[in-house]
């Protein structure tokens, strides 16, 4: 689970349309640049956010992303929490398998996003919505 204290107010972006996915990407990129993440880490985090935001939109029926800059005393990081009130994921292991999709995509979004970040936490239950928390630390 993510450690570290919050620095400043979290920025929240609602996810209701494709344009909002782009807005989440821009918000994450701006925050990552301000937190001085390297270009590679910025790109990885932005890509992970893009995948998770799109999942929130397509499978969760919309929701929100909350972006916070955090500090654990040694390094800075960005934490993003994606929440939706959708149907939830019945089989999490299956959903995290490369190439598995119920949509029509490549089936790499969720599993790929997990590999792109440092900490990855997912809470879900059928009918309870899904909450994904990811953190990327500066090196």
């Amino acid at each position: 689970m993510t450690a570290g204290i919050d620095l400043g107010m979290p920025a929240t972006q609602a996810i209701r349309s494709d344009e909002d996915v782009v807005r989440v990407r821009q918000l994450v990129r701006t925050t990552a640049v301000a937190a001085k993440l390297s270009l590679v880490d910025q790109t990885k985090l932005v890509t992970a956010a893009s995948e998770l935001a799109r999942n929130t939109l397509i499978y969760g029926g919309g929701g929100a992303a909350e972006v916070t800059t955090i500090d654990d005393g040694l390094r800075r990081g960005i934490r993003i929490v994606f929440t939706d009130q959708g149907p939830g994921i019945p089989d999490l292991d299956l959903a995290l398998t490369d190439g598995y999709t119920t949509g029509g995509g490549l089936g790499l979004g969720l599993s790929g996003a997990r590999r792109l970040v440092d900490d990855f936490d997912i809470r879900t239950g059928v009918g309870e919505g899904t909450r994904v928390t990811v953190t990327k630390w500066s090196r």
């Binding site: 990885k44 979004g109 790929g112």
Partner: protein, 286 residues
């Protein structure tokens, strides 16, 4: 404040009696607010039209701008706001054209301090406020449709297919590659392949800030479609951070050739087609 029959007839008399002075003063105020960006003759025509349809609407039994007697007046107002929005005037500048009648009218009735006149003025003022709000709404609607048009034009603009060499076309992608743009890109590329009979296509993603699974899937589909038409595709513009992200995501481009830069991709294609490329300086030294 609803208009009753009596005040309607008084108001319409007031507007008719002083028609000349009123429209002249009204036009003057509008001209001043727009600082000469529309001709006086044009503004005078608009003001006269608005003035006439206000009188007509009042004579027709108007109690509220939204009712059936206000149809003509609403049409004139939305025509006015459409024109202003398209000519690039601000919302305030548009609304002032309507609100200016209040000042003109107030100057007219100032010497007349009778209570009935004041009541009439207040009733008319409420109607003018409605007209102003309606103008504002039409203005915003026109602006929104302008923005939608521009978004569509941008979609077309931002996806050129260029011929790089005999038999080599390139698509430089810039910005976000969503489904709508991916569709446009694919159609353009496939059509250009047919039109030019090119056996090679280069898709350059230097200008795409993040390659996620959706972008990758759109690119892969475009490549497969081009292959079905007998053309070979090369993806260029894979920067280090993009390469690392693609690996972490687990996206596989299979046997599709990928290059770091557009120049590398072009050199690769030229070599495949048997064109010799040599550096002039190297030849001189040799």
């Amino acid at each position: 404040m609803a208009l009753d029959a009596e005040s309607r007839s008084r108001l319409s008399r007031l507007l008719t009696e002083h028609a000349e002075r009123l429209t002249e003063r009204w036009t003057g105020l509008v001209v001043a607010s727009l600082r000469g960006r529309l001709s006086q003759a044009e503004l005078a025509r608009q003001v006269r039209e608005l003035h006439r349809s206000m009188i007509d609407a009042l004579a027709g039994g108007l109690t509220d701008l939204a009712d059936e007697h206000g149809g003509e007046l609403r049409a004139v107002l939305s025509e006015l706001s459409r024109g202003r929005a398209r000519q690039g005037f601000s919302a305030t500048e548009t609304a002032i054209s309507v609100f200016a009648i209040k000042d003109a009218l107030l100057e007219l009735i100032e010497q007349d301090r009778d209570a009935a006149t004041l009541r009439d003025f207040l009733a008319l003022s409420a109607l003018i406020d409605q007209m102003g709000l309606f103008t504002f709404e039409s203005y915003v609607r026109t602006r929104e449709s302008l923005i939608a048009d521009q978004a569509e034009q941008l979609l077309e603009l931002s996806t050129p297919v260029v011929k790089l060499w005999e038999g080599v076309v390139a698509v430089p992608l810039v910005g976000t590659l969503d489904s709508a743009r991916a569709q446009v890109v694919m159609e353009r590329l496939l059509q250009t392949l047919v039109d030019t009979g090119s056996p090679y296509a280069i898709i350059d993603i230097t200008g795409v800030p993040a390659v996620d699974t959706q972008v990758a899937q759109h690119i892969l589909k475009t490549v497969v479609a081009a292959r079905l038409m007998g053309a070979d595709c090369i993806i260029s513009g894979i920067r280090p951070q993009i390469a690392q992200t693609i690996v972490a995501l687990g996206i596989e481009f299979g046997d599709i050739a990928t290059k770091a830069s557009l120049a590398d991709a072009l050199r690769h294609v030229l070599r495949l087609t048997g064109v010799e490329t040599t550096s002039r300086r190297a030849r001189r030294e040799a």
